[in-house]
Point group: C2
Chain length 223, copies 2
DNA sequence: ACCTGAACACCGTTCAAGT
DNA sequence: ACCTGAACACCGTTCAAGT
């Protein structure tokens, strides 16, 4: 006759949510490499087994943290804008900002693109492209092309964050790369040497959006 | 007065090249996870320290293996074609084939896009786009957009390979994904449910090329 | 039902010691 | 100069034991 199935819950009880929170805090503060089960147990003042009670393994935990960040970013961007193109742009920029704030998400996203987070992005993009009038194969190709491009950025952000742990400032990072490019062999890499000049003072966000716009322009042109 | 600085070389002596060869063999045959220093020492019948004498660490070894595969793929594709667009297409398809044959390259490429292999691709793309008449910022944006798109594919190929270790056949893999998509909530994922139909019998290579063509069309349109 | 924490099976990397 | 292989400092994960 006792209908309540829930045990009384201590306010500090461990839960999947609290574990994900702690994982995100560690990832944001110290980066991918710092997220170990030992660091988690220390922060949560518990044992490893307790975490495994709520989460099947590290891969799943990372998928959950990524889903949280991407889900929040997607929620923040409106699904209905003045035009489908602008809705895609908004979504893309929202993702860019999320990846910049949490670069470790990029590593996870490009490692497991077929998980919930990647599918969420694909779904959102696809809906807009449908509104643009694309169908069947064209729709499929255009949506996955946009996703691939975004995943490519994701990997780059993650890689940049890994390098930036030693070289703190972004400008320092860029000028280091620019220097490396300038130092390349002129015969083998004439283009990169040239590009090194542009690299120093470019705007990542604008550059990313430019790629989205190229794809959108191509989609419009090939319709 | 002895000018020869080289010690006589045993034919079976360890060398960076032989280590890279062995690493590629393991990666191709058993996948990313199987490449450990212990596996390498067994295959090369040596000790761990011997490998470290020739290679600074695992990351560098992976960079070398990737450089080998990407370098070969780039060499195989002609730099001068009927048109810059076709040269970009050829390069992209060459990379696609290389990634399909060695999916672990995708993981490395998307993890470290700023290493030699990524730069090689960027250089090759950039040269063609220059021939197309692009300059400065447009050139920079277009080249990096194409690279990002390719890196996005790279991550996907790697991820697919990781999943495929359990599910062997490609069609089985795709139909599993298609099933998952079909099972998604109709309200939340209407687009993916629809796409699931297309997914089963699509052509990866054609799909990848379609994305390249969208970017090229966008580049031409925005010129 | 949920948690503890020692133990297990593995890593990449180092280094004193050999040739 | 090049190689050996034991040892070190880590991992993710398991599991008997507790409450």
């Amino acid at each position: 006759m006792v209908t309540s199935k829930r045990a009384p819950q201590r306010s500090d009880a461990l839960s999947k949510e609290r574990i994900i929170d702690a994982a995100i805090e560690i990832l944001d503060a110290e980066g991918e490499a710092a997220l170990t089960f030992r660091a988690l147990t220390t922060r949560l003042a518990t044992g490893a087994g307790a975490i495994y009670w709520h989460v099947p393994n590290k891969e799943a935990l990372l998928a959950e943290t990524t889903a949280r960040i991407i889900g929040d970013a997607a929620t923040r961007t409106a699904d209905d804008g003045p035009s489908p193109q602008n809705a895609v742009r908004d979504l893309a920029l929202g993702l860019f900002d999320a990846l910049e704030a949490h670069p470790w998400v990029g590593a996870q996203l490009s490692r497991e693109p077929w998980q919930a987070s990647g599918l969420l992005i694909l779904e959102r993009i696809g809906r807009q492209l449908k509104a643009l009038g694309l169908v069947k194969n064209d729709l499929f190709n255009a949506a996955t092309a946009l996703l691939s491009y975004i995943l490519g950025l994701a990997g780059q952000q993650a890689s940049r964050a890994r390098l930036a742990t030693s070289v703190t400032s972004r400008t320092a990072f860029l000028s280091t790369i620019a220097e490396n490019w300038s130092a390349l062999d002129a015969d083998e890499h004439p283009f990169l040497r040239e590009l090194a000049v542009e690299l120093a003072d470019h705007d990542d966000r604008a550059q990313f959006l430019a790629g989205i716009d190229l794809l959108l322009a191509g989609i419009t042109a090939s319709r």
